[in-house]
């Protein structure tokens, strides 16, 4: 059985590991760290925190799958109505980099119905090969047939890396594929790199709502699989001179069968920009005081071409629908600019937006925690600051 050990000769009793443990499993006894097996989950957070290499997690020697003949980088390309989704262009951009670093081919897998143009598009975006499965049964995303097909293709062609989007589709589909393929999957990565010496994929992702980062590897199983967060990687450029090969695959009825079916697709009528797609987000919180005051937030968003977000307090008060909520129980966003209006900055809100490139906070309380993460903080009344900022930005942007 695997286990964790404090190497007593190395432990200096500094206590750094105590605060790293999310489960409160470490105590100091006689100036040595002691781990309570009843609380420890072997998560490994303490190992990195120790400056003296005094904590060791021992993993039993496990049987190694034969990984030598896995080669190439794959991207699962999402399409809706035959149009490749922007998140998949980002994966193509990142996939191309990884494939070039390894000196291997980049392939895209696409499923749907009437997807000929999308296949060509993927070649222009950097695919050397496109595996295309075109069938009426695959018109809408369905977990089971998509997962079976993906797993079958992996079994047949043996790629070493498979990337998918950390979207509602990717995060439903890719976990099922990873179970079928008996391999590791890292969710919602924000950075990928190749360890050139070992030829393995280094997958970095935020955990605890972005308060810690973890780098994860999948050393003994193939493919190495990851879903990648939207809006983090750069989209592949479209080069219409690129050449590539489209390989059409078809599957039998049993593979295409699904116990779920989409009865209706409802696009919620909104003229507002989607939060996860937006480069600029203007959010309002409890400090907006009443739903009608959100016009101020909307006006500012319009002036800069941004989306409207809200804190949990504003959503729970019924001022805006849940789809606008930013934070731990809402959406995690990382736009170029995030403007927080009348939001105090509870930790649950901060974890949903603190990766934004630039943050402007407007709050009348100079002690509000939101100012700790702000690039620019304006201490003042939102009802005075917002109109002034909107006017100035309208003048500047000419909208």
């Amino acid at each position: 059985m695997s286990d964790i050990e404090i190497i007593q000769d190395k432990c200096v009793g500094c206590g750094a590991c105590l605060s790293s443990c999310p489960y409160g499993a470490i105590t100091l006894q006689d100036n040595l760290a002691v781990i309570d097996d009843d609380k420890c989950t072997l998560c490994g957070a303490c190992v990195s925190s120790c400056g003296f290499d005094a904590i060791l997690i021992r993993k039993d020697q496990v049987e190694k799958a034969d990984i030598s003949d896995f080669k190439g980088v794959w991207v699962f390309a999402e399409q809706k109505n035959g149009q490749v989704q922007s998140i998949s262009y980002e994966l193509m951009g990142e996939g191309r980099k990884l494939a070039d670093a390894l000196g291997v081919e980049l392939a895209a897998v696409i499923m749907g119905h009437k997807i000929g143009d999308a296949c060509q598009d993927l070649i222009w975006r950097g695919a050397d090969k496109v595996y295309a499965v075109d069938d009426p049964a695959l018109e809408h995303f369905c977990d089971e047939p998509y997962a079976r097909i993906m797993a079958d293709l992996i079994k047949e062609y043996k790629p070493e890396i498979v990337l998918g989007g950390a979207s509602t589709i990717g995060r439903a589909l890719i976990p099922r594929v990873a179970i079928k393929a008996r391999t590791g999957l890292t969710a919602d990565c924000t950075s990928l790199a190749i360890d050139e010496e070992k030829r393995i994929l280094l997958q970095t992702r935020p955990a605890f709502g972005g308060n810690i980062m973890a780098t994860i590897i999948c050393p003994n199983h193939r493919p190495q699989m990851a879903t990648v967060r939207h809006k983090v990687m750069k989209e592949a450029e479209c080069d219409k001179t690129r050449q590539g090969q489209i390989i059409k695959k078809s599957f039998d009825k049993a593979t295409l069968a699904s116990r779920t079916s989409v009865a209706q697709v409802v696009e919620e009528a909104t003229n507002m920009i989607k939060l996860t797609e937006a480069d600029i987000i203007v959010s309002g919180g409890r400090g907006m005081k009443a739903p009608e005051n959100f016009t101020l937030v909307e006006n500012l968003a319009r002036a800069v071409g941004g989306a409207v977000g809200a804190s949990r307090a504003a959503v729970d008060a019924g001022w805006l629908p849940y789809s606008h909520q930013v934070g731990q129980t809402g959406k995690t966003v990382a736009p170029k600019l995030y403007i927080a209006c009348g939001i105090s900055g509870a930790i649950q809100h901060l974890v949903g937006m603190q990766s934004s490139d630039c943050i402007i906070a407007i709050n009348k309380d100079p002690e509000a925690p939101i100012f700790k993460v702000a690039s620019y903080g304006i201490v003042g009344d939102v009802f005075e600051v917002l109109p002034a900022l909107t006017k100035k930005l309208q003048e500047t942007c000419g909208k």
């Binding site: 997962a147 589909l173 605890f208």
Partner: protein
């Protein structure tokens, strides 16, 4: 109807403080709670039982202290709770966790409906729900915001998407992972609290669920964490007080410099 809810005990981030010097979480002494998304799953299970009859069982994998989370579920009105607890389960990634939970559910005799929160707030992977569904070979619908119709054989549910939602028909048994919008979790009742006080969950070890040791815990996990680090601290921002027009002008200049506008 036999309803199973998979829950996870997580550190309560509402109690997490940030160390002002290092801008990192102070996690010492942070109490544990039921993952907030799992509360919606528990509530939905209770509502299904109220509508259709049957039994609600929660299942969790973790160290003995997870008993507290299971007792809390009991206090909300859940009928029974099972804890998969064995040192051999420790260090499991989502592959091994999904396997272990699915073996626990098999040992229970399966379920008509399995509910999970859409993801846990510590790991944020959203992978275990689909993983369990795959191991049990049942259909799944993720990001469910409404169960519109349900009977013994089938259900019609709303699945949240980036653009809106899809209405999805599924046969049962099925796995649903739920979002916050689905309901408002109830508070524990007095009767529930009384029951929880003396309640002890059934504890199953690896051998009890016939788990293959190659598939559990750290050994069964294809992924390894090689490094955990704190993201770079946000450099000190500019705090503007006093005249609003001046402050606004400074900010807009700054945005121009950063080429954001």
């Amino acid at each position: 109807m036999n309803i199973v809810v998979c829950i996870k005990q997580v550190p309560d981030t509402t109690d997490v403080r940030i160390d002002p010097a290092t801008n990192t979480l102070i996690r010492e002494g942070v109490p544990s709670i039921i993952n907030p998304f799992d509360m919606y799953a528990i509530e939905e299970a209770l509502r299904l039982r109220e509508k259709l009859g049957g039994k609600v069982t929660v299942i969790s994998m973790g160290p003995p202290q997870v008993t507290e989370a299971l007792k809390e579920a009991i206090s909300m009105g859940v009928d029974d709770a099972i804890l998969l607890s064995d040192r051999a389960f420790a260090g499991a990634d989502t592959w091994a966790t999904s396997y272990t939970l699915s073996m626990g559910i098999r040992k229970m005799g399966g379920a008509d409906v399995i509910l999970c929160g859409k993801q846990a707030i510590d790991g944020d992977t959203a992978q275990v729900g689909p993983g369990v569904a795959e191991f049990l070979d049942i259909p799944q619908v993720t990001y469910v915001k409404k169960i519109e119709q349900i009977d013994d054989k089938k259900a019609k549910v709303w699945r949240m998407t980036e653009e809106g939602y899809e209405v999805v028909d599924t046969s049962l048994p099925a796995m649903f992972t739920v979002v916050k919008e689905i309901n408002e979790p109830r508070l524990p009742s007095l009767k529930g609290k009384m029951k929880a006080k003396s309640f002890q969950p059934t504890i199953w070890k690896a051998a009890d669920i016939a788990a293959d040791e190659k598939n559990i815990g750290l050994n069964g996990s294809p992924t390894n964490v090689v490094k955990i680090f704190t993201p770079p601290v946000r450099s000190g921002g500019i705090i503007l007080q006093g005249d609003i027009n001046e402050a606004v002008a400074t900010v807009v200049e700054g945005l121009k410099e950063r080429q954001i506008i």
